[in-house]
């Protein structure tokens, strides 16, 4: 299968007065065509920084090194002009607060005109395409003449999705696309995203969230991030049913299944919070919160290594060589 996105030792830092915040610190993974990938982790783990840096780069965000390729395009050494050109056509994003991202005083039609002008495409073509897509997505064609304020939350999110995918990008990034929506609309939006992939309107999808239950519904693959690093990658089913990294395991345990009442079983969350990325802890970054911490973990950083088949885990528990040095 064709590779859509390839990251290798990718680093994105923030420059602050007190030093560099290492928000994304050496991340490597690939996304194949047709894949829906869930990127999960607590807030402050670098997920949003990672995906934003692929689309827009503004100070104090600095790409410190590594590779990032979108098909044949080098996203690290890309010119600003080129970046603008590929936005929407090759790579597109649904930002976290997309519901509020639409200025309320512009008709949807005006947005479409702006997009057409920016891309140098005839207005009618964009308008036609929008109406055609809107039909697939379940939006009445009248929305083009409406103002965002007239639309309900679910409708607005569908308009944002239609706008973001109008040029059929190879990669769509969705940052918490459902967290502001009601459960009943949530399901529709998630199924819609999967449908966009099934019909080939988008190539692949990165779905960023801290809600594992949503990821479970549509993702093929899950990438777990902690403190700027990838700690586990695997097929959705495998990760959810048999998480290997203690962090992933804790994240999944913290999500209650239906039918568990506190009287029957006490669940527990993950105590503490992710470390400051200004001075991340040495060794494994999860070690201060890890219930299975060993001596090695405090000094040596575990590499992301393959474990039976498709799984990749960065944890000393699964490394045969762990005893050699400690």
């Amino acid at each position: 299968m064709e590779t859509i996105l390839e990251l290798e030792d990718y680093k994105v830092y923030y420059k602050t007065l007190s030093g560099y915040v290492r928000a994304v610190d050496g991340v490597s993974f690939t996304i194949k065509k047709g894949e829906i990938v869930g990127l999960i982790g607590e807030s402050g783990c670098g997920k949003s920084t990672l995906i934003m840096s692929l689309v827009i780069r503004k100070p104090p965000m600095i790409v410190m090194g590594g590779k990032a390729r979108l098909k044949s395009i080098d996203l690290v050494n890309i010119s600003e002009k080129e970046r603008r050109r590929i936005l929407l056509t090759k790579i597109s994003i649904i930002p976290q607060y997309a519901l509020d991202a639409l200025p309320t005083i512009k008709k949807i039609k005006t947005f479409l005109k702006d997009i057409a002008k920016d891309k140098g495409v005839p207005e009618e073509e964009v308008l036609e395409k929008f109406i055609e897509r809107a039909r697939i997505i379940g939006l009445p064609s009248e929305v083009v003449n409406m103002y965002p304020i007239e639309l309900s939350g679910g409708m607005r999110q569908r308009v944002v999705i239609t706008l973001a995918t109008i040029f059929s990008p190879d990669l769509l990034i969705a940052d918490e696309p459902t967290s502001a929506l009601d459960v009943t609309t949530q399901r529709h939006v998630l199924e819609l995203l999967a449908e966009l992939r099934d019909t080939g309107i988008i190539g692949s999808l990165i779905f960023v969230t801290h809600d594992i239950a949503s990821v479970r519904q549509i993702a093929d693959k899950i990438i777990v991030m902690y403190a700027g690093k990838v700690v586990e990658i695997g097929e959705t089913e495998d990760i959810v049913t048999d998480p290997k990294h203690p962090y992933t395991r804790k994240l999944i345990e913290a999500v209650p299944k239906l039918g568990i009442n506190y009287k029957k079983k006490r669940l527990s969350g993950l105590p503490g919070s992710p470390p400051s990325l200004l001075n991340p802890p040495p060794g494994c970054r999860f070690h201060p919160r890890c219930p299975l911490v060993m001596a090695t973990c405090k000094t040596r950083e575990p590499p992301l290594k393959p474990l039976n088949g498709t799984r990749l885990v960065a944890c000393w528990l699964y490394d045969q060589s762990k005893g050699e040095q400690s």
Binding site: Y14, T16, L17, S18, V21, A23, S43, G44, P60, S273, P274, P275, S276, L277, L278
Partner: protein, 286 residues
């Protein structure tokens, strides 16, 4: 969230330190104030001390020259700064106090009181207050520093009142004020613990805005002949124009006080803009 707070740790002070606009305008304002305070001690003349030289150009004896009547322009200017600034400060203080108090009452009480205050604000916004000021000034028996300050201040508070009103109204329904009530704080305690401290820093900014506007208004009134004294900044320029200072070629008569007026008003305006940039996070540029 932990790393976010590291990024966020940029303080107001640090931003002010970086702001060149603030430092330039602030220095000019301070310089003019200092000139008004110590200026009179630098010259042997008073604003109305007759000298033997009439219409003499700037010299060692008279650094800003003398006017048509033989008065020392430097003495007039430095005493004029005192007068115009005093009226301005009084007016700004009165406008800020009235504005903050009425704005808070309107925002906190709501209902009829709010509607009444809002109506007055809208009237003042619709009719240029300077017209009302001129009308009143015509009939005023005495136009001293305090009287003029009162006049300008009592007709300029509406801007501040409106801003404070909306701030207090949104604070009143904020969750931390709700929580303060739940914490057992009565209305008065909530006012002093949660609302006033948040208003205080804004009031300081409002005072500078008012000062900037008040000086502008006062110089205009002085120029129209409604000054507190004969030698206030605007009045000097007015006399110079009236007595043909321009046609007679006595350029020093109006140029020096004119520069002070322009520098003062411009710097105050830039000072307000730079303070707003720092205090209002939405205008912050980092």
């Amino acid at each position: 969230m932990s790393w976010l707070s590291d990024v966020r740790a940029s303080t107001t002070i640090r931003l002010l330190k970086k702001n060149a606009k603030f430092w330039t305008s602030f220095s000019i304002v301070v310089f003019i104030i200092v000139l008004g305070v110590i200026g009179p001690y630098l010259t042997p003349y008073g604003p109305r001390t007759p000298t033997s030289a009439l219409m003499s150009p700037p010299s060692m004896q008279h650094p800003f020259g003398t006017d048509y009547f033989g008065y020392d322009v430097f003495a007039e200017t430095v005493y004029g700064i005192r007068v115009s600034l005093s009226v301005g400060v009084i007016a700004a203080l009165i406008a800020t106090i009235i504005g903050v108090v009425l704005g808070m009452i309107a925002g906190l009480k709501g209902g009829l009181i709010d509607a009444a205050i809002d109506t007055v604000i809208n009237i003042l916004l619709a009719i240029p207050p300077i017209l009302i000021m001129i009308l009143i000034a015509v009939y005023m028996g005495k136009r001293g520093i305090i009287e003029m300050g009162l006049l300008v201040g009592s007709l300029s508070w509406h801007w501040t009142a409106r801003a404070i009103r909306s701030q207090v109204a949104s604070m009143k329904v904020s969750e931390y004020v709700s929580m303060s009530f739940l914490s057992g704080n009565s209305f008065i305690k909530v006012l002093f613990k949660d609302i006033l401290p948040n208003i205080a820093s804004y009031s300081l900014l409002a005072f500078v805005i008012q000062l900037s506007n008040a000086i502008m208004t006062i110089v205009t009134l002085e120029f129209l002949g409604f000054g507190a004294t004969e030698w206030s900044l605007g009045a000097i320029v007015q006399l110079a124009v009236l007595w043909g200072g321009i046609t007679l070629g006595i350029w020093w008569w109006f140029t020096f006080p004119g520069i002070i007026i322009i520098a003062l008003i411009t710097s105050l305006y830039i000072l307000v803009v730079s303070l707003e940039e720092v205090f209002n996070p939405r205008l912050r540029r980092e």
